[in-house]
């Protein structure tokens, strides 16, 4: 297994590039207090709207400062915590809830499955941002409400994926074997089926983190997500709009950060898909 993994990795630059990019951002988010040169919330009004260092700015503020004199680089670094965190939390919750519900729906079927199906149809009728706006209007904005709104809509995809997989795997011989050995339904689900379908969930989850980062940033951009002064990339782009003509870098860099991170996540997802899928495609002989 180890040898084959190495062969596979060699064949996929997508995976490597994606993983490296994501790792960099993850490290940055974790080590923000150590990496950021300045306090992201505190600004020196005397030094506001400084350009990046290569455009005549100061070496203290490598990427310049914003309208309130806050260091753009520090806000970007801390913003990773917020933006990446929003995406990760949202995707994790959606994956967790969706997988659990999907396993239940696929294994026991019946009225619960039908109900979940109707619920899924209903939720899918809403474009993501519209739904999120509805929820946020009702509950107010803020970090956790944002995560709630995003994951409330995203779990559906995971549920459908897992449900489909459970339905397919139910038919395979190894499940019969587990039954014969005396395992309970829940036990089979958790210990036999889940390990086999986990890779699909992982691939989808990685993809979804990127999507949710963009969704969260869009809502924050509109002023409906994370509230100031918390540094969030989307909100930073919005702040920069006031200075589009004079200080274009204020909107450009946070957006660029989003693009690079999401691109890395997409590549990682693609790479994981290439790596994991074909191997696990045939875990058993159908009855």
């Amino acid at each position: 297994m180890g040898v084959r993994l190495k062969d596979r990795l060699g064949a996929g630059p997508t995976l490597v590039v994606g993983a490296v990019v994501v790792a960099i951002f993850a490290l940055d988010a974790l080590l923000a207090p150590l990496v950021a040169p300045h306090d992201p919330l505190h600004g020196e009004l005397a030094r506001r709207l400084l350009p990046p260092v290569w455009m005549g700015g100061s070496a203290d503020y490598l990427l310049g400062t914003d309208g309130l004199g806050r260091d753009v680089l520090s806000r970007l670094v801390w913003g990773a915590r917020v933006s990446f965190g929003l995406g990760l939390a949202g995707a994790a919750i959606a994956a967790g809830v969706g997988t659990a519900l999907g396993m239940v729906a696929g294994w026991w079927e019946g009225w619960l499955d039908g109900l979940l199906g109707r619920l899924a149809d209903f939720l899918l009728a809403f474009p993501m941002l519209i739904f999120a706006i509805g929820v946020i209007t009702a509950l107010g904005s803020g970090f956790w409400n944002l995560i709630l709104a995003l994951s409330l809509k995203s779990w559906v995809e995971f549920m459908r994926l897992v449900r489909g997989q459970v339905l397919a795997h139910k038919q395979l011989v190894y499940v019969d074997a587990a039954h014969a050995l005396g395992r309970s339904g829940a036990g089979i689900l958790a210990w036999e089926i889940l390990p086999n379908i986990f890779h699909g969930v992982l691939v989808l989850a990685t993809l979804r983190v990127g999507y949710l980062i963009i969704a969260a940033a869009s809502l924050s951009f509109l002023g409906l997500g994370v509230q100031p002064p918390t540094p969030e990339w989307g909100a930073m782009v919005n702040d920069g709009r006031n200075f589009m003509l004079s200080a274009w870098w204020l909107s450009t860099f946070p957006g660029l950060a989003i693009v690079v991170l999401v691109l890395g996540l997409n590549l990682l997802s693609e790479g994981l898909h290439e790596l994991l899928d074909p191997r696990f495609r045939d875990p058993g002989i159908p009855r």
Binding site: D121, F122, L129, G134, T137, R241, M244, T252, G255, V259
Partner: protein
Amino acid sequence: MRITTLGSRLLSTLLVMLAITIFVFLVMRWLPGDPVDRILGGSGQVSQQQLRALRASYHLDQPVPLQLVNFLGDLLHGDIGESVVYNRPASQVILEHLPATAELAVAATFFAIGVAAPLGVAAAVWRGSWFDRLASAGSYLGISMPGFWLGIALILVFAVHLRWLPVGGRADPGAEPAGPTGFLVLDAILHLDLTALASALAHLILPAVTMGSVMLAVLSRVLRSSMIEELDKEYVALALAKGASRRRAIVCHALRNALIPSVTVFGLELGTLLGGNMVVETVFGWPGVGQLAVSSIFARDYAVVQGVVLLYALTFAVINLLIDISYTKLDPRVSF
């Protein structure tokens, strides 16, 4: 058999639409605070009598299920409440802003399909070439870019730096034809007003490109993979063996079948397109329903917000139904 299955599909769409409406109704009722306070916007002294009258007009003195029935009834009459900002029926306000959004959405869709189709086909026909790789990289980039950033970047480059295109808005001041459709491009054509047409088109380009970019990226990838699958099939080889030109085999035969799975994806992406509408209108100052929704949320003009959310969701549900129906026309193997 045909009619009944079509009927059941219609029924399920109607049910979903009903569920959406109820959802919106419930969400709005559960907003913290007294609805009446919200409606009044804290405008100070109001007599008890006026309060009672207001409550009655909003049916707030009735039990919730009855409120729901009233709400649905009003909805069917096109009444979703009064806009506190505009002091007019919310439905009227929304309808006024609708043509702008509709024009933008149509333009974005045409852009997305118009570029994705040749791009996807070419990438499939020349698979493995530098063109294919470039298109693939481009589409990865397209799905990684948030719409608000793309819009701003485009403005910075084309409007601020190069000055080729305007920064925002729908048209140059004074160049708006008072036309029948509300679609500036169509109205300008109907009035044979070239200045207005040029102005409308120039203002439409950047927002449409921004709004359609994600759909473009996704569609071109899906089309590419469907085309690759179809091009490998024997009926394409047979078409060539009958003497068909390569172009005929690619477009008339392979593409025709590759469109089928692409249509499903198109339906899904249309939702993303509509969702991104609010962001794009905000960035470009486009006076449509999206911008209205955002400003209404901040102004606490809940009747309007409610109306817009309903509009988006219901439109999407109807469009999905239409796409399902069109599926049967495209693929003879699928019948209702």
